[in-house]
């Protein structure tokens, strides 16, 4: 077994049409006072995503580069970064989109940077729990022999909002959030709406959504929806709740 006979390497040599420069933001606490840029030359292979480029750097050039990834199929939500200024899933963004480069990779904007391309998302998790993202029912739970009925139309009413992979691209793109980290933000509100609009749910989460830092913080920039890789449309979720909350405030007797 010899590294040179290794298929992946053969591919690299055969298919590479040249190289592309990746300019990667590095931040090592204790060592750097603020992020610095480090450049690497990476083979430009048509099937490579930006993430493959990063893996190449980590495996072959610089073992100390840190970033998150796992599924590399756009569903775990861990590989969000800022690529040439835009928040993107790096496993679903291809190097060839940037011609001959360079490609600039930075951590997601709007979050504290723990290290290199890794950001702190604990605040987001706290926000997520705060909207009660579970099915709220009143009364006894029925036995585990029958399901609640739900027609395909009823499913359709919230399905889109259930597709969120918590990748946080929307937070990074939202100027309101970047300015004010207390803003509950697009994905958390969309998730609240996912449950609100579920025919099986009995809550409306008014107490946590009808707040200045919740839906009323949003000025409908709409960037969240534009960058969302899963077409969740959080902007729509928020505007819809604004209407719900406004009507409920004006007509206090109307629920939902």
């Amino acid at each position: 077994m010899n590294a040179d006979t290794d298929t992946t390497r053969a591919i690299r040599q055969e298919a590479a049409t040249g190289t592309i420069r990746m300019e990667v933001a590095r931040y090592r606490p204790g060592q750097d006072a603020e992020p610095v840029t480090q450049s690497y030359e990476v083979p430009l292979i048509s099937d490579w995503a930006v993430l493959d480029g990063l893996n190449y750097i980590k495996d072959q050039l610089d073992g100390s580069l840190s970033y998150r990834w796992s599924c590399r199929m756009g569903v775990c939500g861990s590989c969000g970064m800022t690529v040439n200024g835009e928040p993107r899933l790096t496993c679903g963004t291809f190097l060839t989109e940037y011609d001959r480069g360079p490609v600039r990779i930075e951590p997601l904007k709007g979050f504290p940077v723990i290290r290199d391309l890794v950001v702190d998302i604990d605040e987001f998790l706290a926000k997520l729990s705060s909207v009660r993202p579970w099915l709220v029912r009143e009364g006894e739970e029925p036995p585990l022999t029958t399901e609640y009925a739900q027609t395909p139309e009823q499913l359709d009413a919230y399905k889109q909002y259930s597709m969120c992979i918590n990748c946080l691209l929307c937070y990074s793109a939202c100027p309101v959030y970047v300015l004010d980290p207390d803003f509950l933000g697009p994905a958390a509100i969309a998730l609240a709406q996912r449950y609100n609009l579920d025919s099986r749910d009995m809550d409306d989460r008014f107490d946590v959504l009808n707040l200045d830092e919740a839906v009323w913080g949003c000025t409908f920039v709409g960037e969240c929806t534009r960058v969302c890789p899963k077409h969740v449309d959080p902007a729509e979720a928020i505007q819809r709740y604004k209407l719900t909350a406004a009507l409920r405030s004006v007509l206090p007797w109307s629920r939902r």
Partner: protein, 577 residues
């Protein structure tokens, strides 16, 4: 002191956590996970989850499909428990809000799946695992007392005197190494597909839990049974779910011929027929691919030979409604549209049938240590898992393991403070030594690649004794070299090189057991096919492989009888009624 400490935040781990929290709120539960729980690999599962609900389906039929699918290597008592409890688990998920796909009258819809004689696979479009995991994760948020250690990497189990006392883990963000004392530990760390080069598995699937248990003396079971999924996208290994075939997709070779008919899998019909052709089991379909390749009927690509999955006749509407994610993946990663183009596919390492040896309640031979999900081998999957049995397995045995651990924790208070302290100290010192760095030596990635190619060459779809024997030596050599790798990242904050190195060690450990078990089993059964022993041999090998770690660190393999209750071993018949 934590009563039940769960390692792993996938379907199995989270189900265990909720089970404990619901059963006895006075118990302290913690979930340790090296990624945020909703990033766990369960999120990638696409096709569905099997459980009997339909009219005209019976529990016995699900048992039979599972057992014959597993080539009679399943423990039949475990299969019965699994099949009995799977429906209530999936309904429980429904009650927690899982957006299962529905019939027009509001009932949960089911779809056919490979190796299943009836339609019993529940699905949420083709993102079943994603919805299941997020529903579970969001439901656990309701139990605010469940402690979460997100992005903590467990490097060691503390075991003393045959009993587990906790774990040692690194907080990845800060690099802090801490010992977490616990009365019981549930391992739910998922599979180990990453020991192979070409896999559907996420980067985190490195067999950690298996290695952790194995190092402390718990045996692993049936490690030679590695499932290849017949339809992965060439370069990335991204899975095209079996649901694509269940909805009517065809596998064709380079001549446009539905080649499965040549391999005793039935005759082609225009619409899918259960347990026939494309809906045969995965082992048989992957093996058929190898034969097509040797006959020169596959298509060569830069990423190896492929056949085609043809969905064009399904039409755009059906593809959008039933398998939209397949379309999304093909478009984003293969630059083609399945409604108009053929999808190139090849077999890809997908699932580990083997795992930590447990009983029907998830208990391992180490007192207080439990395992569930893909990291465990209960075993219901035998020599070949049926698609859509794994998610319900995580739920059923995640819950069982959680409850058993809770029982144990209530019965056994007190702990071994001294063992915890000394073992924790030793482990911390070891990790800190690694982090001091090393300028010379090979790269972690290079050794990983060599291991992966060794495994692919020796323990692929077809295996032979000579190559396996050579792989034993290669892996032993790689293990030695892994002790002296180059290590560049000396910082504490989010040191992924440190994690990658620990993962290399666990993968090598697991790889050795796979090769050892494969070498030991001199027969062909399910996913384990020996060209030098092409027949199934029930007299000698109707038994589980059980592998212990010998004091010198090498695997030592023995056999353990299979539990057979009502279904005596028979012939596996597909496509013939």
């Amino acid at each position: 002191m934590i009563d039940v400490l769960i390692v792993g935040g996938g379907a199995a781990g989270l189900r265990a956590a909720v089970a404990v929290a619901e059963r006895d709120p006075s118990l302290t539960v913690a979930v340790v996970s090296k990624v945020y729980p909703m990033r766990s690999h369960t999120v990638s599962a696409e096709g569905g989850a099997a459980a009997v609900i339909g009219i005209g389906d019976t529990l016995d039929e699900h048992c039979y499909d599972t057992i014959s699918g597993g080539d009679w290597l399943c423990d039949q008592d475990a299969v019965e428990a699994f099949v009995n409890e799977a429906p209530r688990e999936l309904i429980q998920l429904e009650h927690w809000g899982c957006p299962w796909s529905r019939e027009s009258d509001g009932r949960v819809a089911v779809r056919p799946f490979g190796g299943m004689k009836k339609m019993r696979t529940w699905y949420a479009a083709d993102k079943t695992g994603f919805h299941l995991l997020h529903t579970l994760f969001q439901t656990t948020l309701k139990y605010q007392d469940v402690i979460r250690y997100d992005e903590w990497y467990v490097t060691k189990l503390v075991v003393d005197d045959g009993r587990v006392h906790g774990v040692v883990a690194v907080e990845i963000r800060t690099g802090r190494v801490e010992t977490i004392p616990a009365r019981t530990v549930v391992l739910a760390t998922g599979g180990c597909g990453r020991v192979f080069p070409f896999t559907t598995n996420a980067a985190i699937k490195t067999g950690d839990g298996m290695a952790l248990a194995y190092r402390e003396g718990a045996p692993l079971k049936d490690m030679e049974f590695v499932q290849y999924h017949p339809t992965g996208l060439p370069f990335t290994g991204i899975l095209i779910t079996e649901a694509a075939r269940a909805e009517g997709g065809w596998l064709i070779n380079k001549d446009g011929y539905r080649y499965l008919q040549d391999y005793d899998l039935g005759t082609p019909t225009p619409t899918p027929k259960l347990r026939s052709m494309e809906l045969g089991p995965r082992d048989r379909l992957s093996q058929a691919f190898v034969h097509e390749q040797s006959k020169g009927r596959t298509v060569d690509t830069p990423y190896g030979p492929v056949v085609y999955l043809d969905l064009r006749h399904l039409g755009e509407d059906k593809i959008e409604a039933r398998i939209p994610f397949v379309r999304e993946l093909c478009r984003s990663y293969q630059n083609l549209d399945p409604a108009a183009d053929l999808i190139p596919v090849r077999p890809v390492v997908h699932y580990m049938m083997g795992g930590v040896h447990t009983d029907i309640d998830g208990a391992t031979p180490i007192a207080g240590l439990y395992a569930a999900g893909e990291s465990a081998c209960v075993s219901i999957n035998g020599a070949n898992r049926l698609g859509s049995n794994s998610l319900p397995e995580c739920l059923v045995f995640g819950r069982r393991a959680g409850l058993a651990a809770a029982e144990f924790a209530r019965a056994h208070t007190g702990g071994q403070a001294r063992a915890v302290r000394t073992q924790g100290e030793d482990e911390r010192r070891r990790l800190e030594r690694v982090r001091e760095g090393r300028r010379t030596g090979e790269r972690v990635a290079d050794l990983r690649e060599r291991m992966q190619h060794t495994l692919e060459g020796a323990a692929g779809i077809y295996r032979t004794g000579d190559v396996l024997a050579k792989a034993v030596d290669t892996l032993a050599d790689l293990r030695r070299r892994a002790e002296e790798v180059r290590f560049e990242d000396t910082s504490t904050a989010f040191n992924t090189e440190l994690i990658n190195l620990q993962e290399l060690h666990t993968m090598l450990e697991v790889a050795q057991t796979i090769v050892a078990c494969a070498l030991n089993r001199q027969e062909s059964r399910g996913a384990h096919q020996r060209t030098d022993f092409p027949a199934r041999d029930d007299d000698a090998y109707l038994a589980h492989s059980l592998v212990h770690r010998a004091p010198d660190g090498t695997p030592s393999v023995g056999l353990l009888p299979v539990t057979i209750t009502r279904w005596p071993p028979g012939e596996r018949v597909y496509g013939r009624d």
